[in-house]
């Protein structure tokens, strides 16, 4: 195993050796439970269950990718910012003093963690919705391919969101500030951007998540992947640039 692979593995061990993954697992379970409750108890305006009557409706309901972007964004922001808060960045940079490599290893590990958050969140939501559908008159209608696309899109969006959050966490270095930054970047800023430039509506993370989940087709798949990558990689690149130049104090 070469040095860089070891660094990635060590970063993955960091992510799994505290209670943080369990906290996020609880969040994913709660979201899945809310979806199940919505199917079981929710109705349309006319009192019907029309919102789960077609495969497209159900796919829209279980499309977790938008949530994955936001939740994994917080995951990435916290995972990196706590490194600075707890000063564990010191042993990290002593072990791998070439900081660009250390930061890249951390981003890869966090992307993997974000992908897992997204995929697990999507899987739990699908299972919860499927379990709740027998309370309605409709069976689970999403095809296997559709399920796989929803899970894949959630994993991809989770990875992107985590990298975005990690980039913000690297720059801000404070857990509270990093979480605030991730919320601003993923929840507050996109609607403001759309208000300023209406044509940007198709290119904000939530819209791209729907495209990748097969719910909408506002833009092509490759374009959506590229746009999502840009959302993630720009803050990550800024973070790597900053970490290279900044003293560890």
């Amino acid at each position: 195993m070469n040095g860089w692979s070891r660094s990635v593995r060590a970063e993955l061990m960091k992510l799994t050796s505290t209670k943080m993954p369990w906290a996020f697992a609880v969040v994913l379970l709660v979201i899945a439970a809310i979806n199940a409750a919505a199917v079981a108890f929710g109705t349309d305006m006319d009192g019907s269950k029309a919102f789960v009557s077609t495969a497209a409706d159900q796919r829209s309901l279980v499309a977790f990718a938008g949530n994955a972007t936001m939740i994994a964004g917080l995951f990435g922001a916290i995972a990196v910012a706590r490194e600075y808060g707890h000063l564990t960045v010191i042993p990290t940079f002593l072990a791998e003093p070439r900081r660009r490599r250390a930061a890249a290893a951390q981003l890869v590990a966090i992307a993997i963690g974000g992908a897992v958050v997204g995929a697990v969140g999507a899987a739990l939501t699908i299972v919860a919705v499927a379990a709740a559908l027998p309370t309605t008159d409709f069976p689970f209608l999403v095809s296997v391919a559709g399920v796989l696309q929803v899970i894949g899109a959630s994993a991809l969006c989770g990875a992107a969101g985590a990298v975005l959050g990690a980039g913000i966490g690297t720059v801000v270095r404070n857990v509270g500030g990093a979480v605030t930054g991730a919320v601003l970047a993923l929840i507050v800023a996109p609607p403001l951007l759309v208000q300023l430039v209406s044509s940007a509506a198709s290119w904000v993370p939530s819209s791209l998540a729907l495209v990748l989940s097969g719910v909408t087709d506002d833009v092509g798949g490759p374009a959506a992947v590229a746009a999502l990558a840009a959302w993630a990689l720009v803050p990550a690149a800024i973070g790597v640039f900053v970490v290279q130049r900044r003293d560890v104090v």
Binding site: R6, A10, M13, K14, S17, H86, P91, L94, P97, V249
Partner: protein, 326 residues
């Protein structure tokens, strides 16, 4: 391992804003010896160590481990073991997991984790969350991390803080043992009583500048205590005939044995002082190196540099207050 490398700090300057925290600092730490890095709070010790380990970039000068910068070492964690902060771990992670992660990142065999924990005296608490550790246990965890790669160079920032007496003795034995086998051991501390029993050499800084460096024994012998029934005449002879710096200390000051006035003489060996006294026809009651007074020497060194750098009108006390604030 027994192949310690020199640590070379060569004209390093580090500024934060307009303030030079480290100012044109040069010294060398040699293998096979324990070197103490001494200075008041805020004198630039930790910043210097961070520069040496590539965690802070100097504004001028270079710091090397052997013949290369820390970041250019092929296996940095196997070459230099460092403990800089007592809290550099996640409080929710066990001590063992903390070390397992470091071992993984550096390609160090997993069995070394248990060995390092045992060496640092933390084996029984290895699976406890690090956030529950006492200050002494946190110091031990930092030491275990530094020892993980069995490196020939150790750089430790205040490793004795919070250790109980047994822990202090264990640390001293460990570091002396590492130096005996040829390792380079560089330790900062403000616990001068401990340092005195630990180090071979000292590097003393104040306000980022080098105050003095060298063998502790030699430095101690540079100041001699002389008692004589005719202290004033002897002081004149030492000053005027031999060019020494002499302070006359009144009886009852500067130590419990000072029942009569005594002289503190700098700049002459004991032999030279004896010869000067003999030539001057002055009887000596005591002629000894000023041993056992690192604290006194430290206060003299740092007070002298504080005076050197004091602004017009500022007092040494003012300077010390500034240092505490830093």
């Amino acid at each position: 391992m027994g192949e310690g490398l020199e640590l070379v700090v060569d004209r390093v300057t580090k500024r934060y804003g307009q303030r030079a925290v480290v100012d044109d600092l040069s010294f060398t730490v040699t293998p096979g010896r324990v070197t103490g890095f001494l200075g008041p709070n805020g004198s630039g010790k930790s910043t210097t160590m961070k520069v040496m380990l590539g965690l802070a970039s100097p504004d001028g000068g270079t710091a090397r481990v052997g013949d290369r910068a820390y970041a250019e070492l092929p296996e940095p964690s196997r070459t230099v073991g460092a403990a800089l902060e007592t809290n550099a771990f996640h409080p929710g992670r066990s001590g063992r997991d903390h070390l397992r992660i470091l071992a993984c990142a550096t390609g160090i065999a997993g069995r070394r984790v248990d060995e390092a924990l045992a060496t640092a005296g933390l084996a029984d608490a290895a699976d406890q969350r690090a956030g529950e550790y006492s200050l002494g246990m946190r110091q031990r965890l930092g030491l275990a991390a530094a020892l993980l790669g069995d490196p020939p160079v150790l750089v430790l920032d205040e490793p004795g803080n919070g250790l109980d007496p047994q822990g202090v003795r264990d640390l001293r034995d460990l570091l002396r043992g590492r130096a005996r086998r040829g390792d380079t051991v560089f330790v900062s501390s403000h616990l001068l009583g401990e340092v005195e029993h630990l180090v071979d050499d000292v590097v003393v800084i104040n306000k980022g500048k080098l105050v003095t460096t060298g063998s502790l024994q030699e430095l101690q012998q540079r100041t001699a205590v002389v008692r004589s029934p005719r202290p004033d005449r002897l002081a004149d002879a030492l000053r005027n005939d031999a060019g020494a710096t002499v302070d006359v200390v009144a009886a009852g000051h500067d130590g419990p044995d000072a029942a009569s006035p005594h002289l503190l003489v700098r700049g002459l060996s004991l032999d030279e002082i004896g010869s000067t006294a003999f030539t001057a026809g002055v009887e000596l009651w005591e002629l000894s190196a000023s041993a056992g007074s690192l604290e006194e020497m430290f206060l003299r060194w740092t007070a002298a540099t504080a005076e050197d750098v004091a602004a017009p009108g500022a007092t040494v006390a003012d300077q010390r207050r500034d240092e505490e604030v830093v």
